[in-house]
């Protein structure tokens, strides 16, 4: 059953120099309880996509077109008070650096009570009880006592667990996790990854997992979406897509992973860097960096959908032997 249906979403930053098209025609669907990985290099528009979904793009950014249907309700153009009712209650978001997202001068309990009372008229005592219950579920020992601790009294991994517990307070239908493990130690990353996947499965919460890290996405997600310069260039089931990418950019991302190259060999980085969104070349935006580019790539590449997969390219790759 479809929970989220995004059609041709366009989020632009209307700067003095011109419109920065951070998200430019993104479409996808997400079922209830489904886990979707969103990957791409820095600046490709992953976070802006996430913020567009919760209706909170920083000015001068604005959703300038497209549609976001969440559980049958159109979110684009929804009145801010209605949107606020959804945020935190039905759509939650977790950020990269828990050290920066939690307020350093309020206790965990104070912050969680504020988040509870944003949507439910609960007396403080009951709100604290709910908060403690969620913390316990995230594996925080002695949760009721820890409510009076400040964020700096937790380790990085514990802090992110607190942030995730806050996102889970109201039992949302969708959690957008924007690189939730990037700031953590590798061993903690893996733990949080596994736990979050289990929690989402258990509670039937859909999850959009934003990451640079293909390996992390491979471990959590059911489906993967690869973003480049504000567009989805490839999407499909995570295994099939990573086993045999069809888009040269996805191939490039895979080749730059340490695990896929021989030990000791140099990583094959994708040459060049992400294009300035103000001056995108006509045709395929990846063309200047693409080894398969030819004259046809100067025109907009077609979207090719085949056996549940999608790619946007003139010269789809054949599965390597």
């Amino acid at each position: 059953m479809t929970l989220l249906q995004v059609r041709d979403l366009r989020t632009h930053f209307l700067t003095r120099a011109g419109a920065v098209k951070a998200v430019d025609g993104v479409s996808f669907e997400l079922g209830r309880g489904e886990i979707l990985g969103l990957v791409g290099e820095s600046g490709s528009g992953k976070s802006v996509t996430g913020f567009s979904l919760i209706g909170h793009v920083d000015p001068p950014g604005r959703v300038v077109g497209g549609s976001i249907r969440f559980d049958g309700q159109e979110l684009v153009g929804l009145a801010p008070p209605r949107m606020r009712e959804l945020r935190g209650r039905r759509i939650a978001m977790v950020f990269q650096d828990p050290g920066a997202t939690l307020n350093p001068v309020l206790t965990i309990g104070q912050q969680m009570v504020l988040a509870v009372q944003a949507h439910r008229r609960l007396p403080e005592r009951d709100a604290r009880a709910l908060a403690a219950e969620r913390l316990t579920r995230l594996g925080i020992p002695e949760a009721p006592a820890r409510l009076d601790a400040y964020p700096h009294e937790f380790s990085g991994g514990m802090r992110q667990r607190v942030a995730i517990a806050m996102a889970l307070l109201h039992g949302p239908d969708l959690i957008i996790a924007d690189e939730p493990t990037t700031a953590l130690d590798v061993s903690i990353q893996a733990q949080i990854l596994v736990e979050m996947r289990a929690l989402a499965r258990e509670s039937g919460t859909a999850l959009i997992w934003i990451s640079h890290d293909l390996a992390a996405v491979a471990a959590v997600a059911d489906r993967i979406m690869v973003m480049y310069a504000g567009r989805i260039v490839e999407a499909g089931p995570v295994r099939a897509t990573l086993a045999a990418p069809r888009h040269p950019y996805t191939r490039g991302l895979l080749d730059s992973l340490p695990a896929t190259t021989e030990p000791g060999a140099r990583l094959r980085q994708i040459p060049g860097h992400t294009p300035a969104l103000l001056s995108l070349p006509p045709g395929c935006p990846f063309a200047p960096r693409c080894g398969y580019a030819d004259a046809t790539c100067m025109t907009a590449p077609p979207v090719i959908e085949q056996d549940g997969r999608m790619a946007r390219c003139h010269h789809l790759l054949e599965p390597s032997p």
């Binding site: 919760i54 909170h56 920083d58 606020r84 009712e85 959804l86 945020r87 935190g88 209650r89 939650a92 978001m93 950020f95 650096d97 920066a100 997202t101 939690l102 307020n103 350093p104 001068v105 309020l106 206790t107 104070q110 504020l114 988040a115 944003a118 949507h119 400040y150 700096h152 009294e153 942030a163 806050m166 996102a167 307070l169």
Partner: protein
């Protein structure tokens, strides 16, 4: 934490010692008070007796040591003009200045912080531009001029409020306060407003800068993602995030107003410490000057200490030493 407090107390003691020496030397450089005290046609004997009586025949360092010794026992000497102990003199004037300074700083904070937060929250709105214009005025218009305009407008032309001096006082703990009666507040309103204008401007600036920065932080983004209303975010998250610089400035402004409300007190004939020091400078009342400056130094050192310690209350990261990297 106890180590930190001891360290701060030692520092404070050193500052006080240096300050007392500087003040003592400085005031001795400005003239011989004996010429004011006894008539020029007094005999040499009377003159010598007076000099010996006030200890002015001793070498400077001896006078300083004697002064320091008395200082440590809480004795700042006697006023040459009023012939009562300096401490008594200063403290009798202190309540007037205290209530004036506190109300000025409170007006500045209670009005300035919300205005500044709004200006930081909606930096491009017309209202915010208006608020910033007020703050620029508060910084650039001289206090004495505003004081005179206030008197002209509200006392002379409109006749709503008294032009100066302090209203009736009510005794609490043996000290007379004027803010407890409506009539007393009428007298206090104009000088307090006059003094508060600069603090208002300062609070607006600080609150605006802090709020602008905080609004861009991940903390606020995360609070918004949790569905908190903008008001709740400002009231609970942002206000706490920006409170440390605000408290610092509140404390230091309070201190400097206590010490240097000179202009306003003079314009409004407010019988506070500021007026006392101006009077004692004109009459070269050396013990009062020295005593006053030492008390001011003491006041600042104490306030700094209090402000530093209150950081620990406001910022939990400082509370338990420095173990959080």
């Amino acid at each position: 934490m106890p180590g930190y407090i001891i360290q701060r107390l030692l520092q404070a003691g050193l500052v006080m010692l240096a300050m007392s020496a500087l003040v003592f030397a400085g005031v001795h450089a400005i003239g011989n008070p004996i010429d004011l005290l006894i008539s020029p046609d007094a005999t040499q004997d009377i003159r010598a007796a007076a000099i010996a009586h006030y200890g002015l025949d001793q070498p400077l360092w001896r006078q300083y040591l004697a002064f320091l010794g008395r200082l440590l026992s809480g004795d700042l000497g006697r006023s040459l003009v009023f012939n009562i102990p300096v401490t008594e003199l200063v403290f009798s004037r202190m309540p007037a200045t205290l209530e004036l300074a506190l109300s000025a700083v409170l007006i500045g904070a209670v009005i300035g912080v919300p205005l500044g937060m709004w200006a930081g929250y909606r930096p491009d709105s017309v209202v915010s531009r208006g608020i910033m214009a007020v703050s620029v005025l508060g910084f650039s218009v001289p206090t004495f001029w505003v004081g005179l305009i206030l008197i002209l407008t509200f006392a002379v032309n409109l006749g709503w409020l008294p032009a100066g001096s302090r209203g009736p006082t009510v005794e609490v703990f043996g000290i007379g306060w004027s803010f407890l009666t409506l009539e007393g507040l009428r007298f206090m309103l104009l000088p307090a407003l006059n003094l508060s204008l600069f603090k208002l401007a300062l609070m607006i600036r600080l609150a605006r800068a802090g709020t602008r920065e905080a609004m861009l932080s991940d903390t606020v983004k995360f609070a918004r993602a949790a569905g908190l209303s903008e008001f709740t975010i400002l009231r609970h998250h942002v206000l706490r995030l920006i409170s440390i610089p605000l408290v610092t400035v509140f404390g230091l402004e309070f201190g400097s107003t206590l010490a240097f409300a000179v202009v306003t007190e003079t314009i409004f004939s407010w019988p506070g410490v500021g007026k006392l020091i101006i009077d004692s400078i004109t009459s070269l009342d050396r013990p009062v000057m020295v005593g006053y400056l030492v008390l001011v130094a003491f006041l600042f050192v104490t306030l700094n200490l209090v402000v530093d310690l209150s950081y620990a209350l406001l910022d939990p990261r400082l509370r338990r030493g420095r173990h959080a990297a």
